[in-house]
């Protein structure tokens, strides 16, 4: 199992004796941990270092003498006390272990030859190490139907279950989704779901990883490989920007499984299911193994030399001001740097944006004093949460926040237009009207509160939240995009409001795309250069790169607007799919149609490429390129190459270097490491993150970049028109399983996306006489769409929700992209029964 030795700091030492040796333990620490650190590993099944001990399995019995004579005690339930003498290997202990195993095996089937766990099974291993060679139990074992699905992805074989309570504890304690529970009693006890309510947790895959037997298996891996056939390397999940550490396991050049690694500052061994099963996309039949060129209206396979020549000549012939690059958050740090140089120096355009109108300006991410996940979750702290629903967008961050609030007394003041996964455990949960977040945030720190409230939030809620924040030392703020139907400026104003009230506050940017932070650090944003340099203050990049763009370019919205007006001759889509990702699908479509040459660099033919690309350069995907990535908190970790890309697909950085070469610039780059060395050399913030430093044992959890940003200046506040009392304000947010390119290529996850509906609160639904399931007509400035209504309590009056990218782009999809107009501060809609 992917367990790292735990490092602890001993602040309050207690001396104990373990197998005759004196050992210094931390007061209050569990004996099982102290023994393990002293080199005396105690076998166990139910104990898991990231969950409360329960003493279910009794495998960890050791003989303990606290002065009253030796007695067998479960070491996972016993905190160390001074002078404790412990025997972990004696005859009594061995007999106890042997006995416990004999009991556990009484009802355990002899399934090893057909069990996925065989070869990495704690029950198997510990039976061999500590158990009886033979069973005295000749009676019939208990029988159940062999595996039953308890969710879309997880199967339960109750005969194999040893009732350790790990999965059920995880579901309740860690995930907060107690949809599995022990049922029945005594020998009949089993793990059960309620009829008709499957274990549909976003975190269900973790139970498969922690089950100490083969009782829980995950569909994507069942019968795929034997543990001894797997090759593995440690890497970082790029399903989102949390940066969970994983082991990538493969067999015969195919990635078959991810297992979570216990990275203390990040994921504590947990993964979300989207990330865990996301490897399926890489194995998809639809992966591009060769470049494509449009020929007579169709994309057809081409030779690399032809495709690269086509791309290079389009770039060479174009006026730099008419070239734009969108995307880049999918790439490795090295790929981003290579493309930043190609775009900004070799081609010379500053119309470059890694975000697609769904993020925050680079200043918010890079130029504010930063906070890490650990700092945000530090016990006893206060957090102002202005991010998206973390359960839907940054799932493992959600687990960390949940743990902080539930176990570590962290007070979360959650501000979001509609209820989120945090609502359940936030100390305060307020829902301002869309577009008015900044007004509310300002009111949370002072000023008069009118009796009818602020921004739609009742006065007493404002005051209660203010009370929580007023005592806060060291305020931590999490900020992201909560609503794609309002402009990003709303969140920038909210940040400015916090800064005005609490200048010492530190910020964790909660943007979803995997390496979006890396992209901004590499300069893939208008006006930016790598290492937080800007066009105005380019630092060493001017010399390193030679030429730089003359003036600050356009962001994604500007690029698409210019393209739609026929002012972009070459549009590079760097793993970007504006048609699915940009909130205003109409503008994206017009832009793609009117742009000159469209070059897509992608592992797939995404919707935008299918519509408009003239050249598609087949890119290598996760697990196929070694390099580094940067998480939302600014942590640089390594990415491993575990398999080779399909066909002749190439690493993104290589494509940029190759194109630069064809455009006459020798970038002096032969390997990805050369690129990273350039980054580390040119950026003070990256100084500690060299390839050598990342390889150092001390940095197994990666290296944090400097988080001392200070350049943020508050822009002029956005004007939000008052709400028309006949209309609702639209919130467009994301759900974990949407129709994104990668997810649609994951057979296990794709069916989990929910249906696209218009979500309303009860009061508004009643006023137009609709209930869940009723058809409704949604009229906005640009278009009218029809949808089915869902009525839930979590949406406040005056607000309605559509989910981003759940519908296909056809004419009658329930697609917010058809009504959201880029650049508008808010989106007003009228909803009628239809």
């Amino acid at each position: 199992m992917s367990e790292r030795p735990r490092k602890i700091e001993i602040t309050d030492p207690v001396e104990i004796t373990v197998d005759g040796q004196t050992v210094t333990a931390q007061s209050g620490e569990l004996l099982i941990e102290a023994c393990e650190r002293a080199g005396a590993y105690v076998p166990r099944f139910c104990y898991h270092p990231r969950m409360e001990p329960v003493g279910m399995c009794r495998m960890c019995l050791v003989e303990v003498d606290t002065g009253r004579g030796p007695a067998l005690q479960p070491s996972c339930m016993l905190p160390v006390t001074p002078g404790m003498a412990v025997d972990t290997t004696g005859e009594k202990v061995a007999k106890a272990q042997d006995g416990v195993l004999e009991f556990l095996l009484a009802n355990h089937p002899l399934d090893c030859p057909v069990c996925d766990k065989g070869g990495e099974c704690p029950l198997q291993d510990q039976t061999v190490a500590y158990g009886p060679g033979e069973s005295r139990f000749v009676e019939e074992k208990r029988h159940y139907t062999k595996p039953i699905p308890i969710s879309e992805t997880v199967y339960l074989d109750r005969e194999r279950c040893i009732l350790c309570d790990r999965c059920t504890r995880f579901a309740k304690e860690v995930a907060g989704d107690p949809l599995i529970h022990f049922a029945e009693r005594g020998a009949q006890t089993e793990v059960a779901t309620f009829p008709g309510e499957p274990f549909s947790s976003y975190f269900s895959g973790n139970t498969v990883q922690i089950c100490p037997v083969g009782a829980l298996t995950a569909k994507p891996y069942r019968f795929k490989a034997r543990p001894w056939d797997l090759e593995e390397s440690e890497s970082t999940c790029t399903g989102c920007s949390v940066g969970c550490r994983v082991t990538v396991q493969s067999s015969r050049n195919e990635v078959l499984r991810f297992q979570g690694v216990d990275s203390d500052p990040v994921n504590w061994s947990w993964l979300c299911d989207k990330g865990r099963f996301g490897f399926e996309a890489g194995n998809s039949e639809d992966r591009l193994g060769e470049p494509l060129l449009r020929d007579g209206g169709e994309l057809r396979p081409a030779r690399w030399s032809d495709a690269l020549t086509a791309a290079a000549s389009a770039l060479k012939g174009a006026d730099a001001d008419r070239v734009a690059v969108l995307g880049g958050a999918r790439l490795t740090n090295e790929g981003q740097l290579a493309w930043a140089r190609l775009a900004k120096s070799v081609v010379g355009t500053d119309h470059v944006d890694a975000q697609l109108g769904d993020g925050l300006p680079a200043e918010v991410v890079l130029d504010l004093p930063g906070a890490t996940i650990d700092e945000v979750c530090a016990p006893g702290g206060t957090v102002l949460y202005l991010g998206p629903d973390p359960k839907e967008e940054l799932p493992v961050l959600h687990l960390r926040l949940r743990h902080a609030a539930v176990n570590d007394r962290v007070k979360i003041v959650s501000v979001s237009p509609v209820a989120t996964g945090l609502s359940e455990f936030a100390a305060a949960d307020v829902h301002p009207r869309p577009g008015e977040t900044a007004v509310l945030v300002a009111a949370l720190f002072g000023g008069d509160v009118p009796s009818d409230g602020v921004a739609g939030v009742p006065a007493e809620q404002v005051l209660a939240a203010r009370e929580l924040l007023s005592g806060a030392q060291d305020l931590k703020v999490v900020v992201g995009r909560q609503n794609l139907a309002e402009s990003a400026a709303v969140m920038v104003d909210a940040v400015a409001a916090v800064r005005a009230a609490v200048p010492t506050a530190t910020f964790l940017p909660a943007l979803r795309r995997a390496n979006v932070r890396g992209a901004l650090e590499a300069g893939l944003a208008p006006g930016r250069l790598p290492g937080r340099a800007t066009l105005e203050a380019p630092g060493s990049w001017k010399d390193a790169w030679g030429s730089l763009p003359k003036s600050v370019g356009r962001d994604a919205e500007g690029i698409l607007t210019a393209a739609a007006a026929g002012r972009i001759d070459v549009l590079v889509l760097l793993g970007a799919d504006p048609l699915s990702d940009f909130p205003d699908r109409d503008l994206a479509a017009k832009a793609l149609d009117a742009a000159g040459t469209v070059i897509s660099v992608d592992p797939f033919v995404n919707a935008s490429a299918a519509r408009a690309a003239d050249v598609v350069l087949a890119a290598a995907a996760f697990g196929e390129v070694a390099g580094t990535t940067t998480s939302l908190e600014g942590r640089v970790t390594t990415l491993a190459q575990q398999v080779t890309p399909p066909g002749t697909a190439r690493a993104d950085w290589l494509l940029a270097v190759e194109l630069a070469d064809r455009l006459g610039t020798d970038t002096k780059v032969a390997t990805a490491e050369d690129l990273w060395a350039q980054m580390v050399e040119g950026s003070a913030a990256h100084a500690g993150a060299s390839t050598e430093a990342l390889a150092d044992e001390a940095n197994v959890d990666g290296v944090l970049l400097a988080l001392d940003g200070s350049g943020f200046t508050a822009p002029a506040a956005t004007q939000v028109p008052p709400q028309n009392s006949y209309s609702l304000r639209l919130v467009v947010n994301r759900s974990l399983y949407d129709h994104g390119t990668l997810l649609s290529h994951c057979p296990s996850s794709a069916p989990l996306s929910r249906e696209a509906t218009l979500v309303l609160g009860p009061a508004d639904a009643e006023s137009i006489a609709v209930t869940t399931g009723s058809p409704v007509k949604v009229t906005a400035q640009r278009a009218t769409i029809t949808a089915v209504a869902t009525v839930v309590d979590s949406v406040p009056r005056g607000t309605a929700v559509l989910h981003h990218n759940l519908a296909d782009a056809d004419a009658d999809g329930v697609d917010p992209g058809r009504i959201v107009i880029a650049g508008e501060p808010v989106t007003e809609i009228r909803v009628e029964a239809g």
Binding site: G28, P178, H181, A183, F194, P195, E197, P379
Partner: protein, 215 residues
């Protein structure tokens, strides 16, 4: 009928309000549901979960631990025949066999008319009166096969309706607490933290890593 009726839902809410933590009302509400429907239905467990603020799986986990919550259709009369040691020695097995024939069902089964569910149970603590059985947990001592037949006929004819209410009924008289007799329990939302929970929290805070002091 499966979820609580309007009247029972109101009662359920008042039961929930008697406890400092809503989840503590799970078992009383399972009883109430069983009383309403004769057994504990899935829909009722779902409704209980909503009322006490947990998942249906948690209600199932609790309810399924207890033998007396029946999660399948159960007859109006649940007949438990003891076959544990005392009763076994004094004819319990024979009594059960006779009961099977008389009712025409195996243990665990329910008669077609929905009147009886027969069960083979372990000691019901009436060993001195073996062989013993229970009908809806009311005892019948030293039962002969003839007496068993008579008992079944009487139950069918409704002669014991006064003494033995239908399966699931908790008591014939519902405890209603008149307003002036209420023991002054503040509703949970107005309550301060219960002392034992506060104690637990304070202890946890005292043990927080920052302090880390030894006691």
């Amino acid at each position: 009928m499966a979820r609580f009726s309007a009247a029972n839902e109101q009662l359920a809410r008042s039961i929930v309000s008697r406890y400092p933590l809503p989840k503590s009302a799970t078992i009383p509400l399972c009883h109430l549901a069983q009383e309403q429907d004769g057994h504990l239905t899935d829909d009722a467990m779902g409704h209980i979960a909503e009322l006490v603020g947990c998942t249906a799986a948690e209600v199932l986990g609790t309810a399924s631990f207890y033998e007396m919550f029946k999660r399948h259709e159960t007859g109006t009369y649940c007949v438990n025949v003891c076959t544990n040691i005392s009763c076994l020695l004094l004819g319990g097995e024979e009594l059960l066999e006779h009961a099977e024939q008389k009712l025409g069902v195996r243990p665990g089964g329910t008669t077609a008319d929905g009147m009886f569910t027969l069960e083979d149970v372990e000691c019901i603590a009436a060993c001195t009166e073996a062989p013993a059985l229970q009908v809806n947990y009311r005892y019948f001592h030293q039962i002969t096969t003839d007496e068993f037949d008579q008992l079944v006929d009487d139950l069918r004819a409704g002669k014991l309706a006064d003494e033995i209410p239908p399966h699931g009924t908790l008591g014939k008289v519902r405890q209603e607490i008149p307003a002036d007799k209420v023991a002054n329990i503040t509703p949970p939302e107005q309550q301060t933290e219960p002392v034992w929970i506060a104690r637990h929290r304070l202890a946890a805070e005292a043990a927080a890593p920052a302090e880390g002091g030894e006691s």
